[in-house]
């Protein structure tokens, strides 16, 4: 039997690279039979800006600014991921307070990422207000980040062996306030969409990914969990302080767009729980590893008053000095909002990475797209795209 893609009455639609539903920049060449998608050939690279090449020219602390711009809807998670990998290479054990702080920012970043993702999915199927409700909460997360590190969007908060600076009581209050008020908004958002018949009919059963396919195609994060893969690096390979918290891994068996939406909504709830626990049990103590590790800039008081403080400071800030890194290779991955975000870092003894490979979840997930969309209709393209949460900067790097 001739396959559908060999028929001559098919027509081609160029979807993107500048299209309202691609949100950023990607291009799909759709082969259509009427409105039904016979084949989809993604064409990416419209935002390829050489992140990995830059990683070979910026030192370990400078590169964090570039990771901000990688998955730009949750920059904090990228910061955490990058320095997680670097610290693995260096063999640094963080202080408990720093671990908790990083957990807090990572989970807040997860909430903001999921808010934008489900919002954009809602936007793609036509629910604009839902998107803006989510965005309003994102603004409040921005406020928290701004109070934490001075930048609302591109944070660059983490440093090798610690964070930029400690959290202030005012910020803690802001986070508490957010924790208290966010559930109500989430309820509102859910009331708008979760049980809306139009939305459910648009997404249920669309773009189904089975468990086997999810593993074989390398899916991770919410996309994999929506397909029944019970894999969450926070549970399976606990990094930072995730061992200390009580939270659930949200899974579904359906593997369709609706399941991915639900998984994300529930993950926001679980993230809230984690942030709450971390905030209430935030350990005292320093946020940076000790001066003997010689990776963090020491306190100003130490720099001015002690000789090893001064030496450490200048050793670190002078060009071509910095800290020493083993001539080794390490892969460190964290559970970013989008999936497994890992960095493969090759150290060569200098203070600049020899190779800084990023394992981007969007890239792997977008490779799923032709498989998911084949046989569905043109309108489902936007729903599937929205549910996969493709971030072009992370996709193309």
């Amino acid at each position: 039997m001739a396959t559908a893609s060999q028929q001559d009455y098919l027509w081609t639609l160029n979807f993107g690279p500048q299209h309202p539903a691609t949100h950023t920049t990607l291009r799909i060449l759709l082969t259509l039979d009427g409105e039904r998608v016979v084949d989809a050939v993604p064409d990416i690279g419209y935002l390829h800006s050489g992140f990995e090449k830059i990683g070979e020219h910026l030192d370990y602390n400078q590169y964090v600014t570039v990771t901000d711009r990688m998955n730009y809807i949750s920059p904090m998670a990228n910061n955490v991921a990058w320095h997680h990998a670097v610290e693995k290479l260096l063999g640094i054990e963080l202080t408990p307070r720093c671990q908790y702080l990083r957990v807090i920012i990572a989970e807040l970043a997860r909430i903001s990422d999921h808010l934008l993702c489900v919002g954009a999915m809602g936007l793609d199927v036509g629910a604009f207000t839902f998107f803006l409700y989510g965005f309003y909460e994102r603004e409040r997360i921005y406020d928290i980040f701004e109070a934490l590190c001075g930048a609302r969007f591109t944070n660059s908060y983490t440093r090798v062996g610690g964070v930029m600076h400690d959290i202030t009581p005012g910020t803690v209050e802001k986070i508490r306030d957010f924790l208290a008020r966010f559930p109500a908004t989430l309820e509102d958002m859910e009331r708008l969409l979760t049980r809306n018949r139009i939305f459910v009919d648009r997404t249920q059963g669309v773009g189904v990914l089975t468990r086997e396919e999810a593993i074989n195609r390398g899916a991770s994060g919410p996309v994999a969990r929506a397909s029944g893969v019970t894999r969450d690096l926070r549970k399976d390979e606990p990094y930072l302080a995730y061992r200390d918290f009580d939270f659930q891994v949200c899974c579904s068996r359906a593997g369709d767009c609706y399941a991915r939406y639900l998984v994300r909504i529930h993950e926001m709830r679980e993230s809230l729980r984690i942030v709450h626990q971390a905030l209430e049990n935030l350990p005292a103590g320093p946020v940076n590893v000790g001066i003997d590790r010689r990776v963090n800039l020491p306190d100003k008081s130490r720099v001015y008053q002690t000789i090893e403080g001064t030496i450490t400071h200048f050793e670190l800030v002078m060009s071509n000095r910095g800290f020493t890194v083993p001539c080794e290779e390490a892969y460190g991955a964290v559970e970013a909002p989008n999936g497994e975000l890992g960095f493969y870092v090759v150290g060569d003894g200098s203070n600049v990475a020899y190779r800084a490979r990023c394992r981007p979840p969007s890239f792997v997930h977008f490779a799923l797209f032709p498989h998911l969309i084949r046989g569905h209709t043109l309108s489902d393209v936007v729903a599937v795209l929205g549910s996969l949460n493709i971030i072009a900067a992370e996709l193309d790097r």
């Binding site: 690279g45 063999g91 074989n216 195609r217 894999r231």
Partner: protein, 167 residues
């Protein structure tokens, strides 16, 4: 290194000659001769349960200290049941930059290999669709090789400017 990974690496070295195992920060890395690559991956996936291909990447060791080989190809595998990881490494030298493709084993390898091809010019034999993925098809260089400058060779500014009156 956990018990599971120890057993697996032991089985691996026993079955395929020329494999060397090393360890760094508790993670096992196996260096595999190129002709064993596909069998090793197949063995790990189908017999040992390393069913998730996390990543394929490449490192250009052109200016690396004490490096003997030009390219190192890295396969990151994960055992989803127990979350154990294994890294497989293959080294390549110019001019023979061919390795067998892992696409028969993992669909995930498709785009990852295309990216490695795009960035390093390593060719995966048996790959169904080995084209440039991130860079335009006309692009001639392989930008992540160490002999390619960060700012490129002038490709980025080779366009016709549009004046306000011309449009």
């Amino acid at each position: 290194m956990s018990e599971l990974v120890k057993n697996v690496t032991a089985a691996l070295t026993a079955r395929f000659d020329g494999c060397t195992v090393s360890e760094f920060r508790g993670e096992a890395r196996v260096r595999v001769p190129r002709h064993h690559l596909l069998p090793v991956l197949q063995f790990l996936q189908q017999e040992q349960g390393f069913d998730l291909l996390v990543d394929i990447t490449c490192v250009d060791y052109l200016v690396y200290r004490d490096a003997t080989d030009r390219f190192g190809l890295v396969y990151l595998l994960c055992h989803t049941e127990s979350s154990q990881r294994v890294t497989i490494r293959v080294t390549l030298n110019e001019p023979d930059l061919h390795v067998p493709s892992a696409t028969p084993l993992w669909e995930a390898a498709n785009w990852l290999e295309r990216e490695v091809y795009d960035m390093f010019g390593i060719e995966f034999t048996g790959h169904p669709d080995l084209r440039r993925i991130l860079l335009p098809p006309e692009f001639a260089a392989f930008p992540l090789r160490k002999d390619y400058p960060l700012q490129g060779r002038g490709e980025r500014h080779n366009f016709v400017p549009l004046a306000r009156d011309a449009s």
